[in-house]
């Protein structure tokens, strides 16, 4: 189950998507996410589906890697879909006790489900094709204009990239501690809820300790290498746009325009 969390895990293959400038991918992900919420017309969703799956194909990341992220939000998905399904008022189809299912409920639930799934797929696609380093660079440069409003962009980007980088490390660490305790006869699977919660103590205590230790070590290592924040810091590989990045922006604009225009479709 722990291995299912793919956020922050880079999948190293060479593809057009991998080569894109991280700013393009960040913007693209944002555009895609927003586009899902500006419309609720069927043709628009067909377009979004086509675009998403086309991009996944282009990225050459195996599909099951991208869908791995879904397992982590399964519970959230089930809850939000059933809330929408049962608690939306409108034309009722049938009712069980106080619960009723309406046409409006079904359509809301489906849209909500699809939106959530696409949201996860799109962000997984971005993190799987962009190294954490590129991601920080992209964020920092893309949001650089905020510096003028005294937003510490560099620091925020650094924090985000460290957080992303720590996810797989913590997963690995959890795995390691879990194994060490399993070797001492621990059982994390069976038992009722309370027993399961109690069984987590031997896992969580060492995990927290190691996370704090790692954080302290990292801070020390950064200081030892004279890290002092963003001011005056230069890049070894500064980002600059290629032709393909410009084309990508163009396609993005066309896509968004189509999605927005679909609002005016008569059905």
């Amino acid at each position: 189950m722990l291995r299912d969390i793919t956020i922050g895990q880079y999948y190293p293959v060479d593809s057009v998507i991998h080569r894109l400038d991280p700013r393009v991918k960040l913007a693209g992900t944002m555009v895609f996410l927003i586009s899902l919420f500006v419309t609720s017309k069927l043709p628009a969703y067909l377009l979004a589906t086509g675009v998403l799956f086309g991009l996944i194909r282009l990225s050459r990341v195996p599909f099951r890697f991208i869908t791995k992220g879904l397992k982590a939000i399964m519970i959230l998905l089930v809850i939000s879909v059933s809330f929408n399904l049962f608690l939306t008022t409108g034309t009722p189809i049938f009712r069980i006790g106080f619960l009723q299912i309406t046409w409006e409920g079904i359509s809301l639930a489906v849209f909500m489900g699809v939106r959530l799934i696409y949201l996860v797929l799109a962000s997984s696609l971005m993190t799987l094709t962009t190294t954490p380093n590129q991601l920080t660079d992209g964020l920092e440069k893309g949001l650089g204009f905020l510096n003028r409003f005294s937003v510490p962009v560099h620091e925020i980007a650094m924090m985000m990239s460290i957080a992303l980088r720590f996810i797989p490390i913590l997963i690995e660490e959890t795995d390691k501690i879990m194994k060490a305790q399993t070797a001492r006869g621990a059982d994390f699977e069976s038992g009722n809820l309370i027993q399961k919660a109690k069984a987590m103590v031997p896992l969580l205590v060492p995990l927290f300790l190691s996370a704090f230790r790692r954080a302290a070590d990292l801070a020390m290592a950064m200081e030892a290498r004279c890290y002092h924040g963003g001011a005056g810091r230069t890049k070894m590989k500064p980002l600059h746009y290629e032709k393909r990045d410009k084309n990508a922006y163009l396609l993005m604009a066309v896509y968004f325009a189509l999605m927005a225009a679909s609002r005016f479709l008569p059905f």
């Binding site: 195996p62 060490a180 070797a183 059982d187 060492p206």
Partner: protein, 310 residues
């Protein structure tokens, strides 16, 4: 009673571009009461291999038999197996979590279903074996030094009373004295309780001193599995794998190159001393020294025996 691996293969991240073979077709059998040294350079698959022996990892193909039973078969009691095959991980101190050392060591026996009292007895016994002083038993494990933590963690596995004890580089990061003490503890356990030991180590000296047989892993392949002396004969091949024979083996090799008839596969200083002394006496001892042709060789031997005797 034995551990038998049959065509064990493990592939990490199978089916992705990151796919890598950590173990390839490994087959061997370890008898009850043996002391096995497992060596191989970094990334050769040692940690991966030993995690299969108590069922923590599932092989991609092949299987492991413990006392004749397939441990990956349906319905095999893996929890019971983990009590019988104790595994001490590389840097085991991170597994400590309880408020006191004693409580932490009791965790294993309690998981095996022993009563509070039995668990406490086992824990005290294991702590004593591990060589941690009693004044630490009631302390928080996080207040101990690195070496003391290591001992407490090892006691945590010993307390389950395993018939087989697997230690993954137990001496990494310890000072020379701590290292010797720990290895003596392990060797003691082997002698007194006839526990089967599998010791993963980077130090040829340590392995040569204690192991009955040495297992050499190279890029996931089982390259050699034989007595230390026979393995050290391949010191040139070992070097190609990023390993080396014990220093004393090189000394013996050089003596042999000088024309002195010693066994070049010797791996410990004690063996070397005996070999040299017996050669010395067989050539007439001190009386012969200084006389005709044996002079040079005789004196050379006397000196090197004194040197290695230190």
């Amino acid at each position: 009673m034995s551990i038998r691996c049959e065509k064990l293969t493990h592939i990490y991240q199978q089916g992705t571009v990151m796919e890598s073979y950590a173990l390839r077709d490994i087959s061997f059998e370890i008898q009850d009461g043996e002391f096995i040294g497992l060596i191989g350079h970094t990334g050769s698959g040692k940690s991966t291999l030993i995690q299969h022996l108590n069922g923590l990892m599932r092989p991609s193909s092949g299987t492991v038999y413990f006392n004749g039973e397939d441990i990956f078969a349906q319905g095999y009691d893996l929890r019971k197996l983990r009590g019988q095959v104790g595994l001490v991980f590389q840097y085991p101190e991170y597994q400590l979590f309880e408020e006191t050392v004693l409580a932490d060591v009791k965790y294993g026996p309690k998981n095996m279903g022993l009563s509070e009292q039995e668990a406490e007895e086992r824990a005290r016994e294991a702590l004593e074996l591990s060589g941690l002083q009693p004044e630490f038993y009631a302390r928080s494990p996080f207040e101990l030094s690195g070496g003391q933590k290591r001992r407490a963690a090892i006691a945590g596995v010993l307390a389950m009373g395993p018939q087989v004890l697997i230690l993954d580089e137990p001496t990494a990061g310890l000072d020379p004295k701590g290292r010797d003490e720990l290895l003596e503890t392990v060797s003691d356990l082997h002698k007194r309780r006839h526990t089967t030991i599998i010791l993963v180590s980077h130090s040829m000296e340590d392995v040569a001193r204690y192991a009955d047989r040495i297992m050499v892993l190279n890029e996931g392949n089982l390259q050699y599995f034989d007595t230390p002396r026979r393995v050290f004969r391949y010191f040139r091949e070992l070097e190609k794998m990023g390993l080396s024979a014990p220093q004393i083996t090189y000394l013996m090799q050089e003596l042999r190159d000088e024309g002195i008839d010693v066994d070049p596969s010797i791996g410990t200083i004690e063996e070397a001393r005996e070999e040299i002394l017996s050669l010395y006496w067989s050539q007439g001892g001190p009386l012969a020294a200084g006389a005709d042709s044996g002079t040079e060789a005789g004196r050379g031997l006397g000196e090197s025996s004194a040197a290695t005797g230190k």
